[in-house]
Point group: C2
Chain length 347, copies 2
């Protein structure tokens, strides 16, 4: 991993200063594009260029995996739904497909650890193992498995940038993956199971209380310090969280923005931050999900979400929904006239 | 006007019920697309069809006009900037051009009352008069002028729907138009000048205090009841507000969604609501602007903004920025697989 991490540098401050100055010259009152001005300045810092190029293409990578802790009854959905949804993604029938078609974002589906055999699907096959082990009984993964899953995400980011994508979006699919997310977020933010365990895609009060207890017990069982991110991933999983952390690190190594989806991506970004803090310079929070732990993660990452519309689906839907805001922000910085070029008196 | 108003009907409740039911069958946990589910149901009600068609094309109409009250020093910008920005729109150099190009929204610029001669520009020429009269000294417009400007907006909406646009977005340009907006919003919401007068595109504390006093005095001078919307527009203007009210009524008459931009559109929507309350069934609030009066207007309209990113530019930027959220919402309802069609067990 060290070999990869040396490629990651913080955002380029000179490009950010140039973008800040350029914003003042554009034909609009200073500051009137609000958060989009800050976002465009951040993207200049990521790419190291001012103005940054408008991404010619964007892609959402949906990392899919299953979770041994599903056996504890933390989700009302059968584990087979993970594989079923992968088939739905390839058929174009899921929400992320509809959003991606609408916003001209390509979709890559990656099996990094689905329990079922999905070898017949036209997706990226990079299964590290068929689901994690049950975190409530012991470590979910070995250290080698964690490293292999991180590598899957990092290598995919490298490949996608080579393929010409200028913005990478995160997606995820995995029944019970909000349980692993809660354990990760609690560990990296120093909060409790109560603070970060939510209803996922929809559970009742009784199941929520049980899920919270499962997370609390797992945190006590493993008690891995936040300073050991690979150990934390080994304790709780999931394989998609590890791959997403690698993907975020890979985007940073390639100096391209990575648009985060919801709570799974937030948990993975905390892992990436623990591995290399500068990786967060390349992260944009697409939205705030309705899941409790997500707000906790965003606060720890110091990221402001672009969209806040009570989505709690995952798949990358929130990232894809927010992507046009990023491209609008960059396009305004890159393409707007200046007061001078437009011949308008700017007071 | 009566002839037009009879074409406006409330949202279709049967289509909304069908959309509510369809949302439950789609391959996602019930409610997991949050506000986008409600939005898709509203659009079904507007169009009267379930699922509604994804708009094949969208257009932002930027209604431009000047304001006599500018003479009172309510804005730091010279009035000539209105015409200067129209030239910038036609050259493609403004923020709304960048956003519109990014989000595949066409741009129409309409002179409904610019003070300067802009006859040389390739825009829609529908000048009712060269700017309003100064509301602080007397009525800004005659009743006939108000009706003519409303007609401009209504007729343009009719034409755009005939041209194939499935979603109309509002835009505006007019130095000092937040002053007229404040007077309109105060009148229709029963609030005070202090509640609704803001910094527009950027004024200092002293100018804000003066602008607020100008609005307060004008409200006392005219004191037109909210039950007389044409009289209210005649008192304060502006010509773009009148045209926007007509445009909103026209969208409603044609059963297409109209995406509102910021505070100018919010004021115009209050006018439209006073003329025909069902018009608001067809309105979607694109964003919440940083201008104080906008939140007051949205509350009175009972509309929730889709985006809240501190924009305070106008031009239609907030509406264009939010448009992909509407089209994503509609596309998900129209194109997603159902649990049954995808062969997934939905518990």
């Amino acid at each position: 991993m060290e070999r990869y991490l040396t490629r990651i540098e913080p955002a380029d401050e000179a490009a950010m200063r140039a973008a800040t100055e350029r914003q003042l010259a554009l034909t609009k009152p200073a500051g009137s594009l609000g958060v989009l001005e800050e976002l465009s300045i951040r993207v200049a810092g990521m790419t190291g260029v001012c103005p940054p190029a408008v991404p010619s293409a964007a892609v959402v990578s949906v990392f899919a995996a299953d979770h041994g802790v599903h056996a504890q009854g933390v989700s009302p959905w059968p584990q087979e739904v993970t594989a079923g949804m992968l088939a739905n993604f390839t058929a174009g029938g899921a929400a992320v497909n509809a959003f991606a078609a609408n916003n001209r974002v390509d979709v890559r589906v990656v099996d990094v650890g689905v329990a079922a055999d999905v070898s017949g699907l036209d997706i990226v096959h990079a299964k590290v193992r068929p689901g994690t082990r049950d975190m409530s009984q012991g470590p979910a993964l070995t250290g080698d498995e964690v490293m292999a899953a991180i590598q899957v995400g990092f290598d995919l980011a490298d490949q996608l940038v080579r393929d010409g994508y200028g913005c990478l979006l995160t997606g995820d699919m995995g029944i019970a993956n909000t349980t692993a997310s809660a354990a990760l977020i609690a560990t990296f933010t120093g909060t409790t199971a109560d603070d970060v365990t939510g209803r996922g895609t929809g559970i009742d009060d009784r199941t929520l209380a049980h899920k919270t207890e499962v997370v609390r017990s797992a945190l006590m069982l493993h008690d891995v310090p936040a300073t050991d991110p690979v150990g934390v991933l080994a304790a709780y999983g999931g394989l998609e969280h590890a791959a997403l952390a690698g993907y975020i690190l890979g985007a940073a190594a390639n100096r391209v923005p990575v648009m985060l989806d919801g709570v799974i991506a937030g948990a993975a970004a905390l892992v990436a931050q623990a591995i290399h803090p500068a990786a967060i310079d390349y992260c944009v929070a697409g939205h705030r999900s309705a899941e409790a732990g997500h707000a906790v993660a965003l606060k720890a990452l110091a990221l402001q979400p672009l969209v806040d519309l009570d989505l709690r689906l995952g798949e990358g839907t929130g990232a894809v929904l927010a992507y046009p805001i990023l491209s609008c922000a960059v396009r305004a910085l890159a393409e707007m006239a200046t007061f001078e070029s437009a011949g308008i008196d700017d007071q």
